[in-house]
Symmetry: C2
Subunit: 364 residues, 2 copies
């Protein structure tokens, strides 16, 4: 039914071995130029493609990489993952490899599946993505099973030999600080995440170190706060800073958190009649944001969530090296994206303005 090697061999009165050799152009497969042509023509004509399973069995490899991850709630995580799939799939295809994707609700299921994939020899290389609290155990499992993998994360200290990729979080926020200082700002406030994953600490470290390096002073602890997705709480934090008398008030904001922090910042400013960096003397902001990030009123520079694509793009040569068994590459890759102008709805330009309706704080 499907064309087999044997079919084209017998049709040409050649041995399957010769046909295989020519089709894979093995250096020791000697055939006259004419035979070679006949083989190639017949293969094309019969639409011959070697059975993936047979080839995998005899070659001992499947030419497949597996992306296995734990599902996390929220659209942000998902958008990050699809970027991975897009990038890795494309780059793997370019070297003749396939990508298998599986995701699970729990870490246990992920671990079990990884072990199954390794034991069934379904993939030659693995991509681990997600929070370090998950990926570390995943990496240790693969390591113990002797399976090559690429992991997103900051494991330079804990697992320096792992093939790993991540942002230089410190450098990113240092850039943000330098940017704001270059605009003339001297009183900087910092908004981070509430949890303390390694990258969250690295972000804050980037802020404090750059503060010291550029301004020569320690950052003021009372201008260091954290936001999660609770709008009211975020507005309390930022509103509190903005309520200070002008000489003490921070004039710029370094954001090491998600879109909710930006939203709180913009609405708090709006309540006092201002917007980010639109008129002279208004506060400025710089930092990180999630996917689908859009300012409402003002302007700012940010690292867009889309940078995750670039991260994957940066990491894929490594992954491919693992697949092709080329070792000797520096295992730790760090990526420093560029700050770019954030998209803005520019509502001010569309006739929407704001005024102070309430005394302070928000009511949801």
């Amino acid at each position: 039914m499907k064309t087999r090697l044997k079919d084209i061999a017998s049709q040409l009165n050649l041995s399957p071995a010769l046909v295989s050799g020519v089709l894979n152009n093995k250096p020791n497969a000697w055939a006259s130029a004419e035979t070679r042509t006949r083989i190639l023509d017949a293969a094309r004509e019969l639409n011959y493609q070697p059975s993936a399973a047979a080839r995998a069995l005899s070659r001992g490899r499947t030419d497949t990489a597996a992306l296995v991850y734990r599902r996390l709630p929220g659209a942000g995580f998902r958008l990050a993952y699809t970027g991975l799939v897009d990038v890795f799939s494309a780059e793997l295809q370019a070297v003749g490899h396939d990508l298998m994707v599986s995701n699970f609700a729990t870490q246990d299921e992920v671990l079990e599946h990884l072990e199954r994939l390794v034991r069934t020899r379904s993939a030659e290389a693995y991509i681990l993505w997600g929070r370090e609290q998950d990926t570390e155990a995943q990496g240790m499992l693969l390591e113990s099973l002797n399976a090559p993998f690429l992991v997103k994360g900051r494991y330079e200290v804990t697992h320096p030999a792992w093939h790993q990729i991540d942002f230089v979080h410190e450098g990113m926020l240092a850039q943000a600080v330098r940017h704001l200082v270059s605009l003339g700002h001297r009183r900087l406030a910092y908004v981070g995440f509430k949890h303390s994953d390694a990258f969250v600490q690295a972000l804050r470290r980037g802020f404090t170190q750059a503060h010291r390096a550029t301004l020569g002073t320690e950052s003021d602890p009372k201008f260091v706060g954290a936001c999660d997705d609770d709008v009211v709480e975020n507005e309390d934090l930022i509103g509190g800073w903005l309520d200070l008398p002008q000489p003490q008030r921070p004039t710029a904001f370094v954001i090491g958190a998600g879109n909710a922090a930006w939203l709180a910042l913009e609405t708090c400013l709006a309540q006092t009649g201002r917007s980010l960096d639109v008129l002279p003397g208004e506060p400025a902001a710089a930092g990180i944001a999630s996917e689908s990030f859009t300012l409402m009123f003002g302007r700012a520079v940010a690292y867009q969530g889309i940078e995750l694509d670039n991260l994957a793009r940066f990491g894929s040569p490594h992954l491919i090296d693992s697949l092709l068994d080329q070792n000797g590459r520096e295992p730790i890759i760090r990526f420093l994206p560029q700050l770019t102008e954030a998209p803005s709805l520019n509502l001010l330009n569309h006739g929407v303005t704001f005024s102070c309706l309430h005394e302070s704080g928000g009511q949801s």
Copy 2:
């Protein structure tokens, strides 16, 4: 190195065939209860898992489904795809199948890859997702190669035998119309997409038919417009309607377009001091939206982009049936989601209000 069937067979002094039979609990594999236990124990102890390649070769199937699609620009499409991967991967795992994902920049590459997958017998079933102008040719190729597939799309007329899944777009907008009419609105405007894919026409059809059915009159052609991502143009369209004298002005909006249409609607209203459905007598809206949809000021009901997950979830039993070779299922599946309250930033409640700065229209 890795445990093979042979290893456990020889360790137990049994034939590989018996071990295989017991492990796969074939009905005709007879072993004493004790032998059976010894086999199971040994397999567990040695962490035995059959080689996927060997098994695929001898069984003639890979237990794999392939999701192959053309990459489309824009985060919206990507978010839709990641939902697919999440859902299909999870549901396939549940029946012991893997998911292979590949995407390409061009349709030609997609077609070539599909043919390769079929010819190399890399997958038993296929998932086609994307625009109909792409998926139709993809489906026809798979059909000619006799490969089972599930396609997202409205092919009830052109390919009624295809296993296909999609929204009932007509029904969705009909629900939106009925909702607005039930709130007392009588002058409805419609905003659609500019292109004319089958689903875009179905959306509009849903509006016009429901208008006729609920109000007993044809919809007014001058209140039917289309939006793309050009903000100014969108605001011209909607602003034009809102500039009409009050007795002629539409009081409700049916949205058969993306987030840009909602944004234009809200900013146009804001320019005239109003918001969606917040105060009595204000205009209302209902319709479809993309992922990550959030209103700024007002309230509305919408079909969220997240419904694509549910669509995939609805479709996966079909896909799994194809994998398991159970035919005889109705090939056409249609899904009617529920209108739900759209998330809103509620900026009004956070001290942000608006006023008319410009005469009309927008300036970007």
